[in-house]
Amino acid sequence: MKHVLEADGIQLEFNGRKILSDIYLKCETGKITGLLGRNGQGKSCLMNIIYGSLACEKSVRFDRISIKEPYKRTDLIRYLPQFHYLPKSLSLHRIFTDFELEYSAFSGRFPEFMGKQKDTIGRLSGGERRLVEMYVLVKSKSQFVLLDEPFTQLNPIQIEKAKLLLQEEKENKGLLITDHIYRHVLDIADTIYTLSQGKTHTTKDITDLERLGYISS
C-alpha cells in the first residue's frame, strides 16, 4: 500500500526574518524525494518541522491525517540529523537491538564491521559512525525516513554502497534526502524540490538548479 507524506502551510521566522513561508512538499513510499538548497535556506529546519522537533505553524499530513508531533510515531517517521546523534557509550549490538535489526545483515553488507558488534559507537571513525547512524534508520520499520546530509564523512565506496541501500530500501518506505553533494541526490532521487527564498520549487533538471541560483551556470 502506498503512503503519502505532505507538508505545507509552514510559517517559520527567526528574529523577524522569514525563513520558510511558501512550502509544499510531498513524499511518497516507493520514491526518493530530494531536497536541495543553499546554506541557510532552511532545509534542516524544514526537516525538523516535518519531524515535529521544531514547533511552528504548519500542516504535516500522513495519508491526509494531520499529526502534530510525528516523532512520537516511530512507525510513521524517523529522522537522521546532520550530526552524530547516537550516545558514544552504546555498543553496536545495543543499537541494532534498539532498532530491531540484525547485525549480521549489516556486517554482511559492510564487511569492515565484521566482529565489531561489542565495540561502542564512540570508538568508530566518523564515516563508520555515520554509516551505522544512517543504516539503522533506513532499515528500521517506518513509513518515512528523513535524511539530513547522510553522505557527510563517508568515503566514495561507502557513498556508492549507501546509495544502493537507499535505492533498495525505497521499495519499503519513502525517503526524503538532502545533501550538499547534490549530484548524489540527483542520481538517486525520483522527485526533487529546491528551497530558495523560503519557498519550495519543483525541480526537473540541472537548468532549474541554475535558474534558482543553487549552482552556477
Binding site: 516523532y71 512520537k72 529522522y79 540529523p81 546523534y85 547516537l86
Partner: protein, 103 residues
C-alpha cells in the same frame, strides 16, 4: 512488553548521563540529615532542588544532539526528563525517610 522494556532501558541510558553527580549530592544530603536531623531539612531540600536545576541546564546543553536517538525510539525530551528527575527525587525522599527511621 518488549517496547516498554526498551523504553525503560533507554531511560536508564539517559539517567546514566547525570546519575553519578546527582546520587552523590543525594548521599551528601542524606548524611547531613543523619547528622543534624530536621534542623537541616529545609537546607538540603532546596540544595537538592537547586542542583537538579543546574544539572538539567548543563545536561540539556551537552546532550541535545542525543535527543534524536531517543526521539527515533519514540521517546520525547519531556518523558526523558520527567521520568528520570522523578526517579531521582523519589530516591532522595525514600533515603531521607529511611534515614529518619533508623537514626
Amino acid at each position: 512488553m518488549f517496547r516498554y522494556l526498551k523504553t525503560i532501558q533507554a531511560l536508564c541510558t539517559f539517567y546514566k548521563s547525570y546519575c553519578f553527580l546527582s546520587v552523590l549530592i543525594t548521599f551528601f544530603c542524606v548524611r547531613t540529615f543523619w547528622l543534624y536531623g530536621f534542623a537541616s531539612f529545609a537546607g538540603i531540600f532546596w540544595l537538592k532542588i537547586l542542583t537538579l536545576g543546574i544539572i538539567f541546564f548543563f545536561v540539556n546543553q551537552l546532550k541535545k544532539k542525543e535527543y534524536y536517538y531517543y526521539r527515533n525510539l519514540g521517546i520525547g525530551k519531556t518523558l526523558l526528563w520527567t521520568a528520570t528527575l522523578l526517579f531521582d527525587f523519589v530516591l532522595f525522599v525514600v533515603l531521607l525517610i529511611l534515614t529518619n527511621q533508623y537514626s
